[in-house]
Amino acid sequence: MSDVHAATTRARIGDRATAQGESERAVRRGAWPVTETPVGKTTGWWGMLLFIATEATMFAAFIASYYYLRFATATGWPPPSDKLPHVLVPSIGTGVLVLSCVPMWLGVKAARRGRMLAAPLVTLAMLAGVAFVVLQAIDYLQEYPSSTPSKDAYGSLLFTITGLHAFHVAIGVFMLLLVLFSSLFRGVGKAQHGAARVCAMYWYFLAVLAVAIYVTVYLSPYMGGRS
């Protein structure tokens, strides 16, 4: 039993080019006898999972604070002195970020096979992230005279939750920039795939988060806020 394992693992180590996804597919095909899941996750994968977990908890606490303060406010939501939020620009921004997950996913898939197509696909996703941040800034200009960060709790929440998220999208863009820059010099290959895959996990997280924030900050005030 243990000899079988030793032999298979040695075979896997010998094949250095074996990328993460390939070993997983091989296990699914039944090429290697493995009795546990998940299989072959890297330390980087686990680290990113934990990082996403801690970030998700923070945003969950932030969104919970939003509803906590909303339902503690007796004067309606948003308060009478504030206008309802603008919806069009944030809708476009959120849509762009969510759709950017498609080129991201295709890009990581291409990187696993070492195809040059990976670079433009990831670049496309990254540009969508930049567009999201710009659209967020445009939305601030729309909201500004009516709501400000220091006018009331509604304004503080609106600007801080979306601002913190946009800041995280900027960090995601920076991460993709690093991966792309690295591929520029080292080529698109299996060595880059691990990094690209981990960055993509973060990217999907940012997109899901964008939807949660969009529903909370931009849509929920329309739902029975002004009674």
């Binding site: 394992h5 030793a6 693992t9 040695r10 896997r12 180590i13 250095r16 493995v34 009795t35 546990e36 998940p38 299989v39 072959g40 996750k41 890297t42 330390t43 686990w46 680290g47 934990l50 990082f51 977990a53 801690t54 970030e55 908890t57 923070m58 969950a60 606490a61 932030f62 604070s65 906590y68 303060l69 503690a72 406010t73 004067t75 308060p79 960060p149 220091s150 006018k151 009331d152 709790a153 509604y154 304004g155 503080s156 929440l157 801080t160 920076f174 690093l178 820059f181 690295s182 080292r186 060595a191 691990g194 990094a195």
Partner: protein
């Protein structure tokens, strides 16, 4: 090692192990390790050699050096916060004293609490975890060695940042839980900015440190170490680290909101503008209660390590202790409102959180039974570490019982904000964390330094500290029931509090004497203690299969773990001899470690590990600059420093070992 069969509860094997204590300590070097070192030691020494001098000090990523630094730094912060407490106790020795002003007293108790909780207790656990988790699971380094160095540097700088506030007379002064609006509109000076920024700063270190420990324990265990063979200390550290991952975000968010409220006049906590002051309390205690277990669980793990060794038998009810540890971690997220019973929340939530608080005492009780049962069914060997473990059991039961009393809402409402609470949490935190940590220091000192400590010196240390601790904190129960509120800088005579306060002050000085004595014992050991053998206690876990102190590569040959008590089963050590020519186990060619599967500890592949680098220190330095500029109110400079930090991180990410170093 002459015993060959794995130890099982209730068999003769266990007493055989006890009889062999002398036999094992006779070896300076375990013969199995000796054989392994003879084969591959020279090659590994060369591959893992560290830069000497200052350069090595700055660039090291060795988890043992970082762990030692954590312990020493946290120890210094402990002394600092302890001196704060001594000044307070001196002020309170008699009624109507005016040794210090009320304002200074506010700063003293706030900084005492904040530093003890955030800059001593949690990092002390990280120190033990850093040093011993990789050794106990049989690997060569942490999963992210460079992040490990980074988390230490950030911890150090955040600590200096926080302590510097006292030197500048701007120490936080709104209590360690800094309730708004006191910490907000009524504290215009920089005091609470130090608090909010300092804790946010430190949280970066705690979060990445916690992630590092979890991933290390998941992916780097020696082959054969399936989840049911993971040492209890590792379970404690992993549970604690996972708790940090989920508990720190609410605290970070609260501090972010506080900082924005204070500096940019946002309205999160401003009741007149739609904010809510109770929101702070919810967010703070959503972190604050799990934090109690974040401090105590690794300490309990230390107890679960010491007790089997000195009871000469395997722990009783291992799976139950593991489940209890994890259950404590989970339930602790559902009890935070018991810190807010006097706030005026609805009866429904008081009832729910009262029940949850009663529930959490069950897993603690399971662990308690396992420890007592292990001692009962084993043969107890008295030793300073074991004495500390037994002291812990006594004091933690007292703290636990008063904790259950707080679950009863009417009682809680009576004694809240009185010295009864102070007595309770010092029994939990001093008894539940400091005593195990001292026990852990005595237990692992030979492994960390290569020197034995004086047995008599250790016994005296334990006696002094145990008596001093009880003399200081026990009378606080009575004094609290007599109505003395906490956080008052002095009190009038005639309430019957004077005698108790005097006793406590005497106890505090006795405690200080105990710590000085303990320090003396350790220094004396460093200077002239006898050299320690590999396995001085005849212990059961893998860290004792390394040298004392361990070589930079820890294990010359990565062993195959055969049982929960690998050093007692005879096969695990033998595997170091059997595999000494297996390149996958020796990894002499490069800076490498073994990656294994999460559940069963099956070998997956050999990983290349990063070597020494100064990038972590640079990142920490620029982050420090960012924080200082934010404090000084220069956002542009802060943004520039943050941007440069980003560039350094980019440079760091450029050197990924899996790309640069060829794998075998």
């Amino acid at each position: 090692m002459t015993t060959t069969s794995p130890s099982r509860p209730g068999t003769e094997t266990l007493s055989t192990v006890a009889d062999d204590l002398d036999a094992t300590t006779r070896y300076d070097v375990l013969p199995e390790r000796g054989a392994a070192e003879a084969t591959v030691g020279a090659a590994l020494d060369e591959e893992w050699a560290e830069e000497p001098g200052l350069k090595g000090f700055i660039t090291t990523v060795n988890h043992k050096r970082i762990g030692r630094r954590y312990l020493v730094t946290a120890g210094i912060f402990f002394m600092f916060a302890g001196i704060n407490a001594l000044i307070m106790r001196t002020q309170l020795a008699h009624p109507n004293q005016s040794l210090i002003s009320p304002e200074e007293y506010d700063q003293l108790f706030t900084l005492h609490g904040t530093v003890m909780i955030f800059f001593f207790a949690t990092p002390m656990n990280s120190g033990f975890g850093n040093f011993f988790l990789p050794l106990m699971i049989g690997t060569r380094d942490m999963a992210y060695p460079r992040l490990n160095a980074l988390s230490y540097w950030i911890f150090l700088f955040a600590g200096i940042f926080m302590l510097s506030s006292e030197a500048l007379q701007w120490a936080p002064d709104a209590g360690w839980f800094a309730y708004v609006p006191l910490s907000n509109e009524y504290s215009p000076a920089l005091n609470l900015d130090f608090y909010a920024l300092g804790l946010l700063f430190l949280a970066v270190s705690s979060t990445i440190g916690a992630m590092n420990l979890v991933v290390t324990a998941l992916k780097m265990r020696a082959p054969g170490m399936s989840l049911n063979r993971v040492p209890l200390f590792v379970w404690g550290i992993v549970t604690q680290s996972l708790m940090l991952v989920f508990a720190l975000p609410p605290l970070d968010l609260a501090n972010l909101m506080l900082f924005l409220d204070r500096r940019l006049h946002m309205r999160f906590f401003d009741t007149a503008k739609g904010g809510d002051a109770v929101l702070w309390q919810h967010l703070f205690w959503l972190f604050g209660h799990p934090d109690v277990y974040i401090i105590v669980l690794p300490a309990m793990g230390i107890i679960s390590t010491i007790i089997p060794t000195f009871s000469r038998r395997s722990i009783i009810g291992y799976p139950y202790v593991v489940l209890a540890t994890v259950a404590t971690g989970i339930i602790s997220f559902g009890v935070w409102v018991h810190h807010m019973f006097a706030v005026g929340l609805s009866n429904v939530s008081l009832t729910f959180f009262s029940a949850a608080t009663l529930t959490i005492s069950v897993p603690a009780g399971i662990q308690m039974l396992a420890w007592i049962g292990t001692m009962w069914r084993g043969r107890v060997v008295l030793n300073p570490a074991m004495l500390y473990a037994m002291s812990f059991i006594i004091t933690f039961v007292v703290g636990g019982v008063t904790g259950v009393m707080f679950a009863v809402v009417p009682f809680d409402q009576q004694v809240t904000d009185s010295y009864f609470v102070v007595a309770h949490f010092h029994y939990v935190l001093f008894g539940g964390a400091v005593l195990p940590m001292l026990g852990g220091l005595f237990y692992w000192w030979p492994k960390m330094t290569g020197r034995m400590t004086s047995h008599a010196g250790g016994v005296i240390s334990c006696v002094l500290i145990f008596i001093g601790m009880n003399l200081t904190f026990f009378p606080m129960h009575i004094q609290g029931l007599l109505g003395m509120p906490r956080r008052i800088y002095t009190y009038p005579s005639g309430y019957g509090w004077g005698t108790y306060n005097l006793i406590e002050t005497i106890g505090a000085y006795l405690l200080a004497l105990g710590f000085l004595w303990t320090l003396f014992v350790f220094v004396q050991s460093l200077l002239s203690g006898p050299p320690a053998p590999d396995d001085p206690w005849g212990a059961n876990t893998l860290e004792w299969a390394t040298g004392s102190p361990p070589k930079p590569y820890n294990f010359p040959v990565i062993p195959t773990v055969h049982s929960l008590n690998p050093l007692w089963d005879g096969k695990t050590l033998q595997s170091m001899v059997d595999h000494r020519h297996d390149p996958q186990r020796t990894m002499t060619e490069h800076h490498q470690a073994l990656r294994t599967s999460e559940l069963d500890g099956r070998i997956e592949r050999v990983m290349s590990m990063p070597g020494e680098t100064s990038q972590p220190l640079l990142v920490a330095a620029f982050l420090t600059m960012t924080v200082c500029f934010l404090l000084a109110g220069i956002p542009i400079a802060a943004a520039v420093a943050f941007g440069i930090m980003g560039l350094v991180i980019g440079w760091w990410m450029w050197n990924r070992p899996e790309i640069d170093e060829p794998a075998p």
